[in-house]
Symmetry: C2
Subunit: 382 residues, 2 copies
Amino acid sequence: MLFTGIGELVTNDPAVGDGSMLGIVRDAAVVVGDGRVLWVGPALGAPDADSRIDLGGRAVVPGFVDCHSHLVFAGDRAAEFAARMAGTPYDGGGIATTVAATRAASDAGLRGLLARRVAEMRAQGTTTVEIKSGYGLTVDDERRALRLAGEVTAETTFLGAHVVPAGADRDAYVRLVVGPMLAACAPHARWIDVFCEPASPHAFDADEARVVLEAGRAAGLGVRVHGNQLAAGPGVALAVELGAASVDHCTHLTGADVEALAGSDTVATLLPGVEFCTRSPYPDARRLLSAGVTVALATDCNPGTNCSSSMPLMIALAVREMGMTPAEALWAATAGAARALRRSDIGVVAPGCRADLAVLDAPGHLHLAYRPGVPIAAALEV
Amino acid sequence: MLFTGIGELVTNDPAVGDGSMLGIVRDAAVVVGDGRVLWVGPALGAPDADSRIDLGGRAVVPGFVDCHSHLVFAGDRAAEFAARMAGTPYDGGGIATTVAATRAASDAGLRGLLARRVAEMRAQGTTTVEIKSGYGLTVDDERRALRLAGEVTAETTFLGAHVVPAGADRDAYVRLVVGPMLAACAPHARWIDVFCEPASPHAFDADEARVVLEAGRAAGLGVRVHGNQLAAGPGVALAVELGAASVDHCTHLTGADVEALAGSDTVATLLPGVEFCTRSPYPDARRLLSAGVTVALATDCNPGTNCSSSMPLMIALAVREMGMTPAEALWAATAGAARALRRSDIGVVAPGCRADLAVLDAPGHLHLAYRPGVPIAAALEV
């Protein structure tokens, strides 16, 4: 299948097109087949194909890679959001509300919610989504969340260490997570994650987080960390030390944190929807980029701290609030997020990669930040 | 036609439902016919109707009233936006770029762009849009803009005094605006407007603005003002003095401005998309509301300072950045904006009003702010 009439094609391959980080080809075409990209280049040189779709000058970009979400949940917390906007501070305690609603939901109910949320994301241009557990917090409920998540994505993350359940003994809960819960969940997960945030009484300190992550790594899972969201803390250092693929939030960083990230393969995944929806100061992406850190953008879509599934809004916020250029923000939402998942087959449009593309109802990628809130992006159905 | 299964109906009629400013009815139904609302109330008491549509628990709100836009334009200024995000300040000078592109466009070209933009707005829940001229700046080009705008809305605004055209003599241009341009445009316009902003070398000072507005009023047009966008200035005081329906932007206000607005029927229309897209400080809606001023929200959709057509994003920004509650923001985007157009037949869902409704893919109106960037709102086709 040949897609032609692409006014601007962002490949994220600096070896083609204009030679920029986005590898932009104007008046481009893409040939796809069997779910893979077969050919990329100027429309004038495109090979023949069985079918041909003219995109009328629209832009095409790599499908967004939302490398941080919590889509397996029931209920919503819109009222908590409204209260927070009226001044109630966020400390992670509201997670218990979602845990109760999620445990009470049926498999079919959760499956329907998940399908709807993934479809909503695709309709906004997201073609890969990472999904965490973490609203079960029992062996059976965490395993169920990962089993259901695995039906819609390969990027599943065991987050039994999301919070200490209300009333539970901290040490006993950590033992449960690294013992029977990990054993039950590891077959359904690619990653392990922990909410390492000593500033929250509900989350885990550095020692607890290390125990969880090392156990997950020993069970064959890749490492990710929620860190440095509410205050500077040990999350980033621990993530780098353990070779995590990504440390997520990074809202409060010391100079040593930035230096550690710059000297590592750990991606800093920024989640500006959280700062938007909790009315918190935004992370300083410019500082990270200037230091040479690889930055990713994701939504963190969850019922508590950001219920937006919109990667275009994350791009617009990164440009407005975090000092990123539109090109840097788009790269971070695609290629950067792919790196945060240690994937080289997505986030780039090149022969052999997955045919995961987003089409913009716009002449170029700048419109993602230039037209905030307008639903101009959608996954290209191939 | 009966719409039933409405999980939450926002009527903006405090005489019904929960008695709040939003007049919320749960498990509601609405009967519409001939483009008007015929009946509103609990679904259990709904009358029979020829056809019946079950909205499956979704929320319904008054269609958004976007009382400030500049939709008659050609070209875009995405590159100027990107440059501004990299540090170039905004002073109104880029308008000349759009003037050149708009003059060069054909009627058919502009008509196509307008139709597409109005459709894009409807798809996001906007059922009334005010459209200004102001990218023509010649007698023929301004008249053409208003003629085309009048094909898609009754709310047309003559904004010949948008900027002084490049190279023109200020006094001569004001004479043109109040003379032959007004004579040509008044038959196609409901309102007159002026960009009263002494802080911009391209805009108009208080004396010039007064001349323009008084001439428009004498020609039978209602008065609106662009004021206090870039700095505190004379716009608000002039608007109140002349009985303007609305003064728009209100980003920089003195205590006297707030007091004058509070003692008047002039609505303060806030345009947070502009502050988002120019990286400027947001207006203080809380201060205005506390003083008793009627506040409206609109997009200002235009190619230079905010190319977003999303009223839901304006609501989310008002809540995040301007101290409004979700209820106040929704009211401002509907009933408040209707007042800014001196309309009582829109912005409220009550018998006799226009059947201008928006349906939310959500259980309640809080989701407009709780799920920023997600396209959950759409005009309800009746």
